[in-house]
């Protein structure tokens, strides 16, 4: 189901308009608050819902996991580096989730390519991509797998 805006919470800041990949979040010309101008074209990517600083945008979850009468809310806390979801089913059960959305402070891991040396011809001809093999730790004991790290894939959903 497409996004909709709680007009009483929206302050018309435009973060949702900036981030919408379909360019369907616009600012209403009269009320100066956000609205989804073309719900049919919304693919529920949740970008605007997460970007909204006032939690003014909501989406109904898909009927297969949350039939009518449910509530699926999300709160992206970029300062803490987490995203929290709260799913409330119509029978009253509640599921809460908290997950990381970054592991390093924002912007601290953006490579500065201007200061990197240009690749040599040999590097250009190599099958390895830029920054490989270090970036994928292939130079540190070969290919890392669950098995080589003594881990095992567990069945089912766990968190």
């Amino acid at each position: 189901m497409p996004t909709f805006v709680y007009m009483t919470r929206c302050d018309g800041c435009g973060h949702c308009v900036d981030i919408c990949p379909s360019d369907i979040m616009h600012i209403d010309k009269k009320y100066r608050r956000a609205l989804n101008i073309e719900p049919n074209m919304c693919w529920e990517c949740y970008s605007c819902v997460k970007a909204c600083p006032h939690q003014a945008i909501d989406v109904r979850g898909y009927a297969d996991f949350a039939p009518l009468g449910h509530s699926v809310r999300v709160l992206r806390d970029e300062r803490k580096g987490t995203i929290a979801w709260r799913v409330k089913f119509r029978d009253g059960r509640v599921k809460n989730f908290l997950s990381p959305i970054t592991t390093k402070p924002w912007g601290s891991a953006i490579p500065d390519f201007r200061n990197e040396a240009e690749p040599t011809q040999a590097e250009r001809d190599s099958e390895l991509l830029s920054f490989e093999p270090e970036s994928i730790r292939l130079d540190d004991g070969g290919l890392h797998t669950l098995e080589s790290n003594g881990l095992k894939l567990k069945e089912g959903v766990y968190y």
């Binding site: 800041c13 970029e78 009253g92 592991t103 924002w106 912007g107």
Partner: protein, 286 residues
């Protein structure tokens, strides 16, 4: 321009009776009341807020719902009368008086200028006309109000109007249905100051046209937002205080239990403040 006088007193001296002016102001007040009620009924704004309040009460009554994960205990709270007074004080002092809703600083400032300018201007006008006398204080409030309204309303039009700022429309392309509120405020402040500086019947007629357009279009404009926005702000403070918060998630990394969960291991050594991500840049690409 003498800000300790207004052209209203001169109007009375030039033969327009105070009673006629009082009649005009009363009609404008009547229009605002009737049209605001019609707007609230049409949009069902009041119904929405009562429903929202009932929903929050239901969530509260349901208590600590069965939870698969997360620490729900002690999160919901029945608000005391003191808590509600606190919410009301916060709404009036922050959300209303300083336009606390806006996260965009300059836009907030423009709103403060417009709102307080409008309040000063309208209140001073009404007091002068119903009191049938003008004092230097009232006249100063009238002039400062008009100037603040001018700065706020014209500043909004030329710095924040999304049609022009982001969609490339001309500042002079007007859609009366959508812009009547802004134009009413801009016209009222400009013509009032023009009347104050130059005097004369032409400016006076322009003032009448602008104010009649502003107060006579309440049903079609966004004028009534000044009544339902404070209700929304109060409602938001109440649901945040009682913990229901429209079912928004409440889990945070601050909780030690959360820090030790499997999926949070990646953040074990990360700082608690990761700085700003997408909010580092202002939304200006729309």
């Amino acid at each position: 321009m003498d800000i300790t006088t207004t052209p209203i007193a001169a109007l009375a001296e030039n033969g327009i009776a105070w009673a006629d002016m009082q009649m005009y102001v009363s009609v404008m007040i009547g229009l605002v009341i009737v049209m605001t009620i019609a707007d609230l009924l049409h949009k069902k704004s009041a119904t929405y807020f009562f429903q929202a309040a009932d929903k929050a009460d239901e969530l509260l009554a349901a208590g600590e719902a069965e939870s698969s994960i997360g620490n729900e205990s002690g999160r919901l709270k029945q608000l005391s009368a003191g808590d509600k007074v606190n919410a009301l004080v916060g709404t009036v002092a922050i959300d209303v008086a300083t336009a606390g809703e806006f996260s965009n600083g300059p836009r907030r400032l423009v709103h403060i200028f417009t709102m307080w300018g409008f309040v000063l201007f309208v209140a001073a006008t009404a007091i002068i006309i119903y009191g049938e006398a003008e004092t230097a204080t009232l006249a100063t409030a009238w002039n400062i109000g008009a100037i603040m309204l001018l700065v706020g309303s014209w500043g909004y039009w030329f710095a924040f109007k999304v049609d022009c700022q982001s969609e490339g429309q001309s500042y002079f392309q007007i859609d009366l249905k959508k812009d009547i509120f802004s134009l009413g405020l801009m016209g009222t402040s400009l013509t009032a100051l023009g009347w104050e500086i130059y005097g004369g019947n032409t400016w006076f007629v322009l003032v009448l046209v602008s104010t009649t357009a502003l107060f006579g279009s309440v049903y079609w404009s966004k004028f009534s937002h000044m009544f339902f926005k404070p209700m929304a702000a109060y409602n938001k403070r109440i649901i945040e205080a009682n913990g229901t918060n429209e079912n928004l998630p409440h889990e945070t990394r601050d909780d030690e239990w959360q820090q030790n969960r499997h999926s949070m291991e990646l953040l074990k050594d990360a700082p608690m403040d990761m700085g700003l991500g997408i909010k580092r840049s202002k939304p200006e690409n729309y």
